[in-house]
């Protein structure tokens, strides 16, 4: 297997895993814990947030996906059509997934992480959840759609005929 093909497959696998994790939050986790009481919701989200910041997910999968996309793009610089598509997939991934996470979701996660569930009143928990819930979910839809879009464009790039130019 050539280096180019290896990079494409590795990028598709890691971007695919990231996409699936986004989908997991979208279709199972947030709707599920969304039905808990305010304090239970905050405790559950805080615990998951702590766990997901782990070397396997953040390293090879989340950032690795972006790095492999860029590497695959650079490796295909001599094939204009594939290069354009891979560059598009990279931009969508970095803007819609990585940047939205860093600038949007992570600050919200950090604010919520500081909330002391045990010593809070019901009203304080309700207010903290209200501050978090809606806007986090809106940002998350962007990440989910962007990661799916990035994966789809990457798949299209994979099957683009290398000899076809523009």
């Amino acid at each position: 297997m050539s280096v180019k093909r290896l990079l494409l497959s590795a990028a598709a696998t890691t971007v695919g895993m990231t996409t699936g994790v986004m989908y997991c939050y979208q279709t199972a986790i947030m709707p599920g814990i969304g039905r808990l009481t305010d304090r239970e919701f905050i405790a559950a989200f805080q615990a998951m947030d702590k766990e997901i910041v782990n070397p396997v997910f953040v390293g090879p999968v989340f950032l690795g996906g972006g790095a492999l996309l860029v590497a695959a793009t650079v490796a295909h610089r001599d094939e204009p059509r594939r290069f354009g598509r891979l560059a598009t997939a990279s931009v969508v991934y970095f803007a819609g997934v990585v940047a939205v996470t860093m600038a949007g979701n992570v600050p919200k996660n950090n604010t919520l992480a500081d909330f002391q569930v045990a010593s809070s009143t019901i009203q304080q928990a309700a207010a903290a959840r209200q501050q978090f819930d809606g806007s986090w979910n809106r940002l998350h839809i962007v990440r989910t759609l962007a990661s799916v879009a990035s994966l789809v464009v990457l798949s299209i790039a994979m099957v683009t005929n290398p000899r076809q130019n523009i």
Partner: protein, 159 residues
């Protein structure tokens, strides 16, 4: 057409692999640290939420679409890809078997426990957690392998 079907199969498998990975890397370790009643209630609500039409379409589509791709690659021009697509379909098929044999029965048991109290929750949790988590790790590994196989297939040209 064969290529498009294969690409859709890959995307669906990626969604499933990441979903299982999400449970392995975030949901289950997090719930493992919460107290028993919160654990049971959270997992019950997640289980109810995941049984939605969009997810079930993804879950079944990730098997059906690669199988269709196998048939579309039976001709001479598909022979470089064929073994990898078959491998992907078999690996994903194994995750469905695990789901049906282990995870769904455990989910049903959890659902049947209904509203738990601080006294009843520990036993409900103990009967669920280790087995469900262990087999979810297996699903994550198998499904990730399916994704790898399908990406390898897609990276090979039709001859």
């Amino acid at each position: 057409m064969p290529t498009t079907v294969l690409a859709i199969g890959l995307v669906l498998n990626a969604l499933m692999a990441g979903l299982y990975f999400g449970f392995s890397t975030a949901v289950m370790p997090a719930l493992a640290r919460t107290e028993d009643r919160n654990y049971v209630t959270s997992m019950q609500r997640i289980d109810e939420s995941i049984l939605n039409p969009r997810f079930l379409t993804t879950f079944m589509g990730a098997l059906v679409v690669p199988i269709v791709a196998v048939f579309l690659h039976l001709g001479d021009d598909g022979r470089d890809r064929l073994p990898w697509i078959v491998a992907g379909a078999v690996l994903y098929g194994a995750t469905i078997v695990i789901t049906g044999a282990v995870n769904i029965p455990l989910n049903k048991q959890l659902r049947a426990a209904g509203d738990v109290t601080d006294r009843s929750a520990p036993a409900v949790r103990a009967a669920f957690h280790h087995r469900w988590t262990r087999f979810n790790t297996a699903r994550t590994a198998l499904c990730t392998a399916a994704v790898v196989a399908l990406t390898v297939a897609l990276a090979r040209p039709m001859t």
